[in-house]
Symmetry: C2
Subunit: 457 residues, 2 copies
């Protein structure tokens, strides 16, 4: 077989890169579990009619077919009832969660706190930060009929804590509020039935000029020029928790729902601000519009410094009806971190590295093949204290065995001495000391591979 | 939306069941990493021509199609060059590993030790222990041009250590050797070119009678009756390391390759026997034939007591050419544990359970909603020492908050007292003691959910 080439959009990592990715996933899992989120995994597939419920994502779905399926399964789905029996790969973890909650509602405790670290697939054109196969890390809190606002604060706190511990470039969590926007629009004289249309037009402000948005709001939606200018003015506001109320008040629009939204957003900002650092900031950004027309409360987006072009790496919000079975409605709030979107570009550019390409901390040198069985007892003793250990694959000259360790970044080589004594060498410094296999442990920092960012990061 | 129903063959677990599955995966990862195996993940898809290389598995492959693909991508693969551009979901982790090794050979260090915990998909008819989506745990050691025999011993040792730590019913690792079988056949007078045919016929011995196998060996392969009977006699041998040589010798067949095979198999048995217990045994079983016609050395299978009907839960072996790019050949030895095959039936039958359905160890009770912010400091303090903590979602009566914890199996409820003092109650025993949020830790056994098997297991 000829040497295969990579598939565009399906990233794979070398072992040292995978150690970085695993570290990120381990940090996320630890933070989520410390906050009482339980792991859920859903199957990779959903019925096509579920995947297409929102209509807009249909072009991205991978449809499955069994190669040797029965003839009736072979048909290309042409709409209608076939959609329910045709399977596609999920393109996010929210559609599967909604289905899982409905399917298992009788066996879950609400509010239901779950995290989910899984792959998803979209048939999009690949580019940096945009992949056809990618790993997502989602947390959601799902209520039954009701869900308290404080969970909107909590989600920001949990993800802030995760960012504070992840080896990423500085990230900026941007929050907005459906209530604030809607209250402001109403206060500016927009009719309730126009609110959704205004949001969809204002969402274009990153792509067209402010004047164009004003023209669209007056010509297409029917606002007055003054109303349209007020709507655009709001998109210019960014503020932290202390500034928000003042900056919004300065725009001169008043409405009870606006006050409520300002208060809610300020509480989200305050909740996450405790973790502010030079690597993590949180700000109200009243321009972000992600799904404001279907989210009902707080909305989150996240930008990574130097990688703004990949878009938001972590997004979500509050929705009053994640799922409903007709009798019962399940409101939720959640956020989804694009692990591959955030980490993939850093790995590809070599900006995040691991100290070694293997978990192995100690290589036991082998003087001759006959000693293998007895040296395995040394390895077993070290492993019993959590020290990842390999016995050298060959009894080559010690120099060659040391190079085996060096090429993988294994920090220690263990040398059995005469009469059952032992020495261990730190091959980075060359320092070699007496050691007892029943007691020796490496410094904590060497026990596992460490992950570090380059100076550019 | 109506309440959805499960998809046959795509198992999903409730949070408490998922905790069991995660525990199994954590144990596997820890054992594999302690032995110096590095994690690799491969993409879920491979070109269809790669997946169909071995021919026999074609009926099981799920083929992918983008719903809105370009017309030329829409065509159903009809063989030929389309196979290379059509993608299917991988049905195991070995085909992807072979491709990954060839693709990245220049960036890997050999012998390359990798583990892989990932899902795979097969469009088979579902039954207990056989799923359409399932998780596999693979370890392999891959050499470049050569790979020492001792890795065949090592693979058995590593998987034995994993089984010794997994909460499964008693398992029996069964090993056989291509060399032993081939040497025995040659010693019994089978011609070298008949060896493969004999193996394939003898492999049917579980499905047809010994007499039928003898008839097929004489009529179809052309052996003498005496030769055929000798081949069948070998399938009756099971032995531990001490007995193997004697039991094989008693059959009266001699050949240098047989001696070599007996010696090799005895070393594999001895290597794994250290971990023998009432829950793990290892035995030479000269009947097992899994892939003996393409494996070249040791072959492994594993049966789980009480679940023999699901087949082997952990299989693998030595192959002299996992992959080849024409210039270089990569021999390997590995084993693949069917996590879903082994754990799925136990979860479905309720034979493995977790002590709680959430990672949360402590619920901080909330006297009133105004206290939420200050009580979060208690939660933060506990989390800083690794204690998973939630603040109660509501300031309901304490009885109701305690029931929130009870329903999830959360063992401790934290009660703030007057003047900044605190008490923590073990709600299983009712014992309530003074506690300091900056110092208190639960007993180690309560820190994380524990997993236990029922008495039936």
């Amino acid at each position: 077989m000829a040497r295969p080439t990579p598939l565009s959009g399906f990233p794979e990592w070398l072992p040292a890169q995978r150690i970085v990715e695993q570290h990120v996933l381990d940090v996320l899992r630890e933070v989520f579990e410390l906050h009482g989120f339980a792991s859920v995994e859903t199957r990779a597939v959903e019925p096509l009619d579920q995947l297409l419920r929102k209509g807009e994502t249909d072009k991205e779905v991978y449809v499955l077919r069994r190669l040797q399926a029965d003839p009736e399964d072979q048909a290309v789905p042409a709409g209608g009832d076939l959609l329910g029996s045709t399977l596609g790969l999920h393109f996010d973890l929210t559609v599967p969660l909604a289905r899982y909650v409905l399917e298992n509602a009788g066996h879950l405790e609400f509010p239901f706190r779950r995290y989910q670290l899984q792959k998803a697939w979209r048939g999009e054109r690949p580019q940096e930060g945009r992949y056809r196969e990618f790993t997502q890390a989602d947390i959601d809190v799902i209520g039954k009929d009701t869900l308290s606002f404080h969970h909107e604060v909590e989600i920001a706190q949990v993800i802030a804590e995760a960012f504070a511990r992840l080896p990423l470039p500085p990230v900026r969590l941007q929050v907005n509020s459906r209530k604030l926007i809607e209250g402001y629009y109403l206060g500016a004289g927009v009719a309730p039935e126009q609110v959704g249309d205004v949001m969809r037009v204002v969402d274009k402000i990153d792509k067209v000029s402010a004047d164009t948005v004003v023209a669209m709001l007056t010509d297409d939606v029917g606002l007055s020029t003054e109303q349209a200018r007020a709507c655009v003015a709001l998109t210019q506001v960014t503020a932290d928790g202390d500034e928000l109320a003042g900056k919004v008040k300065a725009l001169g629009v008043q409405h009870p729902l606006l006050d409520e939204g300002v208060d809610a957003l300020a509480r989200v900002l305050m909740g996450a601000a405790r973790l502010r650092s030079d690597r993590f900031s949180v700000v109200a950004d009243l321009r972000i519009a992600r799904g404001l027309d279907y989210y009902t409360g707080t909305v989150y987006e996240t930008r990574m410094q130097g990688f703004e072009h990949v878009g938001s790496i972590c997004s979500g919000g509050r929705y009053d009806a994640l799922a409903s079975d007709g009798r019962m409605t399940y409101p939720g709030v959640g956020i989804s971190l694009g692990v591959t979107r955030a980490v993939g570009p850093l790995l590809s550019r070599g900006l995040l590295t691991a100290s070694r390409s293997t978990p192995t901390c100690v290589l036991v040198a082998l003087p001759d093949e006959e000693s293998r069985a007895s040296l395995q007892q040394i390895a077993t003793a070290l492993r019993s204290r959590g020290v990842a250990t390999e016995v050298s694959p060959t009894a080559a000259k010690y120099g060659k065995q040391i190079r085996y360790a060096e090429r993988r970044g294994i920090p220690y080589v263990w040398f059995p001495q005469d009469e059952g004594t032992h020495q261990v060498r730190d091959i980075r410094s060359g320092e070699q000391v007496d050691a007892d296999p029943r007691a020796w442990v490496p410094p904590e920092a060497d026990l596992r591979p460490s992950v570090s960012g380059s100076a550019d990061l």
